[in-house]
Symmetry: C4
Subunit: 261 residues, 4 copies
């Protein structure tokens, strides 16, 4: 089979489209943000991406229906007043090998380039290893002009973060994107790195919304954030009781967090 | 060499054939069931599948004859009164890498599609991590109509099982099969996951026999199940004696289980 | 680059040649035997085999000269009275991945088939996990006629050994060889599996010499076997002294064994 | 995408060019030396090498600019009096799989051969596992004439070092280079193997400079060596204080070493 198989569901003409990438990763921040954006805009499915570089796995829905793991591209036609339509990339997995990461990214960029994409925003989490009360949004970009533009939207460019560079799709879409003549920005929401973080996703999406001049209602994302807070609080209490000698199963409760997102 | 090499032993015309997949996996349930079905129907060898995604290994028979590890497709011509001939896939291994899983599955599906296959049943075990007295058969399907049809045969569709989806050939044949326009069902026999489980294979095969309107004599499979019970009982007793201080080698006895199936 | 690169050093016409394979493996038995045969017959280099499935490594000779790791085919023109010329495969490594094993084996078989090879003998060690005083030679073959023929040369065909089959080049050359219409035999010398074993290589080679009707002087191989015995004895004594409290470095002595072979 | 993508920045004609390789490795000796040579000669960028055999990673500069990990070829036009222009290969990583090592090396050699390269010097560190006061330069070469030539420049050819051969780019560029008709030498600076070692890089570069008849000012490299000495000394003192019960964080200080080079 082809290494990467992109099945287009329809043909579209897009106006100077921008590609938004948000795949699973640290705190699931990028995926949460991209999926929320797609749902909020009622973006339409454009193409499904299968690959032998994903796990050999199917998901089963609650009604028993099987679906092969994949990535998906959705598109959003902006109102006539706006400059850019959007292509939004989400999905179940990043490529599970270094080679797979390169192959999948290259194929999606190639597909996007043919639709006219010249600009990419990648969304990700940045693990700080400690609880983050007010997540900042850190940035990296392909050109100095983008750095300056992002600073105006409150994005932080730190001399030391990310020190070792970015590993995975959010970096690669920009790094390989340059070979396609695309410019772009990575927006990284600070997060503890310990669980899925809708609050960090919201911070990232707020910046992106301002950049794209889109209005987004964050009610549902905030509700999700509160649910995480509530569970985290329960775990914290359970662990405290546990430390005090009461018999509990904090690890079981921790598992609940995995299902959110 | 070709990644996957399918050597056809003869040319056949099949009447609206259904593909049955049963490869090694959890409790060897799928393989036990598919092999038993093939033997019971006296299905004929159709093609041997070699691949560099199998281990670089040969098996040696008791008489000293070498055979390269492989998968095999057998076919069964149904009586004129029946609607579907059968293709049965069995073998020594699933692909040993994610990429290999995809490649082998895709090639077998392609070969099957050319023979007219439009429907797939995959057989597997579902590890419950505890002793199962009366194994239920759990299901997953590619379309709601199949779910409803299977419920009538006593297949259970649980909201939570399998929670994380299915990994391996039994899922992939259905997930990739959809790209070939095939519909299908995965039948999973509950099993402990600790040893090979002919009883679970029998439960799966009983459902499949009813679906396919085939009569199967389960005497030999039940004998195999009793042999496993007997060995498991011996191990249990040996471990108890061991716990009481008698010198035994329960691990050696455990090894016996591996040879069955 | 090509996955497997076979650089022929000259063009030869061979008379009904037999391929002998002996690569590094258990006790280095196969390699010791094949190399000894090649040296004894003054077989000439025919082709060098490079591959990206070997380690990315060069060896450096004592005089400082670099050589890329490889396998080598040598050929021996039998006297006019004999029926078969020989092709002898030796080398530094087997392929370091399952895929590599298949690719390299397939390419060497293809090259050999073009030279007229229809028969293959693979040489290997069979680890028994205990000291072997008088190594037997165990066998496996592609057809019953070869099994019977080998029994007459004293080769043992055991119902249980090798129970799990053969992993690696010695099995694969026979298993894949069948797809090239080649028949063959694997000759396995019993060995402890703990160190290189010239004595087991001698046992294997003695059988092969009788099969091929070649006279071989084993003096040098026996000298090597005695050297191993001497070192093993020294290690044994050192370990005993060590157990008695004397300060020694048996592990350092053990390292000596690795250099022989 | 292509496995290895070489993007040439300009077209050049070079006079009988010599390829110098220095990629990350033991003590970063090769990379330190090659980068220093490139900077000292003000060699010009010639081509950027991307590959799916590098990590799927981007680096972020202090100003927030993203760059995909790569290797780079630079060229230096020698003065008319000199015989050889230079091609200098440096970069972020060696290929991260054996297959990747072969593919990348082969492609760079092919590119270099087209520019007329017939001679290769690879620069590396040789880990001795102990502190090295005065690093010697060890050698290995593709032909005896090169061994003799190098001895005159003070390069040591030891019967036992490197005993097991060379693993990685510095060996492979020579081993595969021979298949391109190139001759070459590997220059290995002795180093402890515990941290980056500019002093060993200087020793290597001093030999290379004499071989190439280039004058190099080592002031900056010596400053770097002194910085490492200073940090190593601080760590040593911290560890001693730590052993005496004072609270320090020697591991944090150790990290500083990683940034140098």
């Amino acid at each position: 089979m082809e290494d990467v198989l992109i099945r287009a569901l329809e043909k579209v003409e897009l106006r100077d489209p921008i590609l938004i990438e948000g795949l699973p990763g640290v705190g699931n921040v990028g995926k949460l943000a991209a999926d929320y954006l797609r749902d909020h805009l009622h973006a339409k499915p454009l193409a499904t991406i299968y690959s032998k570089f994903f796990p050999p796995q199917v998901y089963v829905s609650e009604t028993g229906i099987i679906r092969l793991v994949s990535n998906e591209l959705a598109y959003w036609k902006a109102p006539a007043s706006a400059a850019h339509d959007l292509l939004i990339l989400g999905g179940d997995f990043q490529g599970i090998s270094p080679e797979g990461q390169y192959e999948i990214t290259e194929r999606v960029l190639d597909f996007s380039a043919k639709l006219g994409v010249r600009e990419v925003y990648t969304l990700a989490g940045f693990a700080q290893g400690r609880v983050i009360e007010e997540p900042r949004v850190l940035g990296a970009a392909t050109v100095p002009a983008k750095v300056e533009a992002m600073k105006k939207f409150g994005v932080h460019f730190s001399r030391n973060d990310p020190g070792g560079g970015l590993i995975g799709a959010s970096g690669l879409f920009l790094g390989l994107g340059r070979l396609f003549g695309m410019e772009g920005v990575c927006l990284m929401g600070e997060t503890s790195g310990y669980f899925v973080d809708p609050r960090s996703a919201e911070a990232v999406l707020k910046v992106l919304a301002r950049v794209l001049r889109i209005e987004i209602d964050f009610t549902a994302l905030e509700a999700k954030a509160k649910e995480i807070d509530r569970i985290a609080q329960k775990i914290h209490e359970a662990e405290q009781r546990s430390a005090e000698g009461t018999s509990v199963s904090p690890s079981a409760s921790r598992d609940d967090l995995g299902y959110i997102g």
